[in-house]
């Protein structure tokens, strides 16, 4: 073959945490190319990237960089050799200045020593060069990073990665928080880097962007490499099919009719500045979705109605009865459950087993005079483990070791044990792999069949269109439109989601 030898090659890489994440990945990246890495959440993209840049080591397999064995011992080690990653989670330190963040770990000192006094003048001069390169020329180098917007923080991180010689740069969802012009500016930089022979690995869900910037594209599915293709040869539909492994059929999730009784009604819910007089109702047996852009107020609406955050106005009716909800305790008593977006921080008791994670929601029911009946507790947990098919070694295995899908099942079990009538799912399949995702959908559908009322917030429109009876669209804190299954299209929902942000500047001024 006359192909250039790859800059980076991996051979039969395996990596497992609780579950295998990478399963025999053979991957090659050439110098000077933009190589896109795509796959569903949990397909192993981030893990592969982390292995390459030394943040974690593989269980098996080996790698080569420019033809020589490559086994970085740490992120710092990889960094020193020009393999660098800009993380999806923002790594910028808010209390330091922009310039300090860009040169973090290699601040120029007077006299050049590692522990000397920082040479501010040189620091700011050099920072300006790199800031201009990523489009941050309007920001002062001594501005605190905490004063910047999310997109600008991301650019600071990228600028930091460019400052010293870089052979391979991995960008994980770099444009998630960027505006259109910022993205274009970033693409210019990427092209400039590549022209100089740097390889850029670009991880993103934004397939249109990939088609614009990437020369080649690798698809991962459940830790297995599906293939590497020239981007020009692939349509977006084709990429989606490769990622999912099968075309999703709408019929599979066509939902049955729901009842006529209203399960939950919310009137004029308001959280100042975030949620503006949101009203809706959902029937028993119905799955009502909530679509909208980031920051549209969907999560805030759910948290306020559940009593997790303070609300400024609004009434909640369960089965037609008004209920006072000031604390999650009140919501739970009224039969409302919230499965939060951030399962690890706000849902699970990670070091504890399935048993406690399920029982915690209703311990008094398992106790006599305050003493827990442990055998009863264990049998409850075992029953849910079986009905929901939770994969775990045993009931006391820390839930932190389970996969995302099984963790979500544990949380569903928790609320089933409490016998909640209204279940609110916030991003129910975030971080859950494709296979388990379908299981979660099925569980949600079964719950609806059993007469529960289900509210789902999701940023994945395909997901909502698959499982919901109706989709309510929030835009800038207002519920702008509700679509029925037969009336929606992806375009109409997206248009509604953007509607609040168009020509609203004047209204805002007036409100402020």
């Amino acid at each position: 073959m006359s192909l250039p030898s790859p800059l980076l090659a991996t051979f039969d890489l395996h990596k497992a945490y609780a579950q295998p994440v990478l399963r025999g990945v053979n991957w090659a990246v050439r110098a000077g190319e933009v190589h896109a890495l795509v796959g569903e959440n949990g397909a192993g993209k981030s893990t592969l990237a982390r292995v390459v840049c030394g943040m974690t080591s593989p269980n098996a397999g080996h790698m080569q960089l420019a033809g020589r064995p490559w086994s970085p011992s740490s992120r710092r080690d990889a960094d020193a050799q020009g393999v660098r990653m800009v993380l999806q989670e923002l790594g910028a330190i808010g209390t330091l200045t922009v310039a300090e963040n860009i040169f973090r770990g290699r601040l120029p000192t007077k006299g050049g020593g590692r522990w000397g006094v920082i040479d501010r003048k040189r620091l700011h001069e050099e920072a300006r060069v790199w800031m201009a390169a990523v489009g941050l020329q309007d920001v002062a180098p001594d501005a605190l990073v905490s004063s910047l917007g999310v997109g600008q923080k991301q650019l600071v991180e990228i600028a930091g990665a460019l400052t010293s010689d870089v052979k391979l740069l991995i960008l994980d969802e770099p444009t998630a928080a960027l505006t259109g012009p910022e993205t274009q500016k970033l693409f210019e930089q990427i092209r400039r880097l590549c022209a100089g022979g740097t390889a850029v690995v670009y991880i993103s869900h934004r397939l249109e962007e990939l088609q614009e910037i990437a020369t080649r594209l690798t698809v991962l599915r459940d830790g297995v490499m599906v293939g590497t293709h020239n981007t020009a040869d692939l349509s977006i539909d084709k990429i989606i099919k490769l990622m999912a492994g099968r075309a999703l059929s709408a019929d599979e999730f066509a939902t049955a009719q729901h009842g006529e009784d209203v399960g939950i009604e919310v009137r004029n819910l308001r959280v100042n500045g975030v949620v503006r007089d949101v009203s809706f109702s959902a029937h028993k047996g119905e799955i009502l979705g909530f679509a909208g852009l980031m920051g549209a107020g969907r999560t805030e609406t759910m948290r306020a109605l559940f009593g997790a955050d303070v609300r400024d106005a609004g009434e909640v009716f369960i089965d037609g009865e008004p209920v006072t909800i000031r604390h999650p305790r009140d919501a739970v008593r009224a039969g409302v459950a919230l499965l939060t977006e951030d399962r690890k921080e706000q849902g699970l008791l990670l070091p504890l087993g399935i048993t406690t994670n399920v029982s915690v929601v209703n311990l008094p029911a398992l106790a006599k005079h305050g003493v827990i009946d442990e055998s009863n507790e264990a049998s409850v947990a075992e029953r849910f483990r079986q009905t929901l098919a939770v994969k775990a070694h045993n009931l006391s295995q820390p839930v932190g070791e389970l996969s995302g899908g099984n963790q979500q099942k544990v949380l569903i079990a928790r609320w089933l044990f409490r016998d909640c009538r209204v279940l609110i799912f916030d991003e129910p399949t975030r971080g859950i792999d494709v296979g388990a995702r379908f299981e979660i959908y099925k569980l949600m559908r079964d719950l609806a069949h059993a007469g529960k009322t289900i509210l789902v917030v999701s940023s994945d429109l395909t997901e909502l269109m698959q499982i919901c009876h109706r989709i309510a669209v929030l835009s800038r804190g207002e519920l702008v439109q509700t679509f029925r299954r037969d009336t929606w299209t992806q375009a109409s929902i997206m248009a509604a989601a953007f509607s609040g942000y168009l020509g609203k500047a004047a209204t805002d001024q007036a409100e402020a």
Partner: protein
């Protein structure tokens, strides 16, 4: 359950090694006199450390217990020696002050969302000042009526020793088996998750600090009984000894994981170290250096055992 046994076993081995080393090094260490002296010294620290274990499992800290012990003792001393109230009433007042101050700690944290460190640091000063105020900075001599509490009961061991030991097992059982105990562990693991499960974690927090304060009051009774007098300077640095005993006993300062029985061993290890070092002729400065090393070393070992699991 086997896991917990293994955990205690490690502490038993550590304590055994310590005893062995001192028995070899000091001629008169391995005697019943040494043991009864250790056993009769520890009860006040032990009851305070039990309360501290709950607080730390909850993910908090209580720096006020030492001063609070002095305040409670002072109240009891003034009530008996100054106001000539009957001893049982004075004892009740002592416990009530402890529980009340603990409850205030908890409520201030909950109401204004302040860190435990700050609130109890403030209370450390307030309670110490309060102890001086109620006693007019004078040691209150109570005398024989209270000393009878700490008289030797059987086998050279005092009533407070048995009381503290019973308390340890009751507290361990409560932590393991009751709804309250489970809430303490769960809240210490992830308070937000527990709150969103519909549990009022504020109540749990106030209850735990109230318990801790109450046990400081109990510690005050034991301490005062041993000396026959209430000293407003009592309990200086006791909070740090209690924290040290809790962490040596394997309770995580991050909350959510801990054992009261472990704390018992933590107290014993520190007490044996103290007595043993004195008997081999170590001076106070050397004793403190060694005790400090043991505390840090114990936590390093503990991290090794538990760190691996979380990668």
């Amino acid at each position: 359950m086997p896991k917990r046994v293994a955990e205690s076993l490690r502490l038993v081995v550590a304590l055994g090694l310590l005893l062995l080393v001192f028995s070899v090094m000091a001629d008169h260490f391995f005697t019943s006199r040494t043991f009864s002296s250790v056993a009769n010294q520890i009860p006040s620290l032990l009851v305070v450390a039990v309360g501290m274990t709950y607080v730390i499992v909850l993910g908090g800290i209580d720096l006020s217990v030492g001063s609070l012990l002095a305040l409670c003792g002072g109240v009891m001393g003034v009530a008996t020696a100054g106001l000539h109230l009957p001893l049982p009433l004075a004892v009740l007042m002592c416990l009530a002050v402890g529980a009340g101050v603990g409850a205030v700690n908890g409520m201030v944290m909950v109401r204004w969302r302040l860190p435990a460190f700050i609130v109890t640091l403030g209370m450390l000063e307030i309670a110490r000042g309060g102890a001086y105020l109620v006693t007019h900075s004078q040691t209150q001599y109570i005398g024989a009526s209270i000393e009878s509490i700490s008289e030797v009961a059987v086998l050279g061991l005092s009533l407070p020793f048995f009381l503290a030991l019973a308390l340890v097992f009751a507290a361990q059982w409560t932590l393991d088996r009751t709804v309250f105990g489970r809430y303490v562990v769960a809240t210490g693991t992830n308070e937000e998750a527990v709150r969103l499960s519909g549990v009022d974690t504020s109540k749990i927090r106030v209850a735990v600090y109230t318990l801790c304060g109450f046990l400081a009051g109990l510690g005050a009774i034991i301490h005062t009984a041993r000396l026959g007098a209430a000293d407003p300077n009592a309990g200086g640095g006791l909070e740090l000894q209690a924290i040290a005993a809790v962490v040596v006993g394997g309770t995580s300062l991050m909350g959510g994981r801990g054992s009261v029985v472990g704390t018992l061993f933590g107290v014993l290890i520190i007490a044996v170290l103290d007595t043993g070092l004195a008997q081999v002729g170590a001076q106070e400065p050397a004793k403190r250096v060694i005790t400090g090393l043991v505390i840090v070393g114990a936590v390093i070992l503990d991290n090794y055992r538990h760190g691996r699991r979380h990668g």
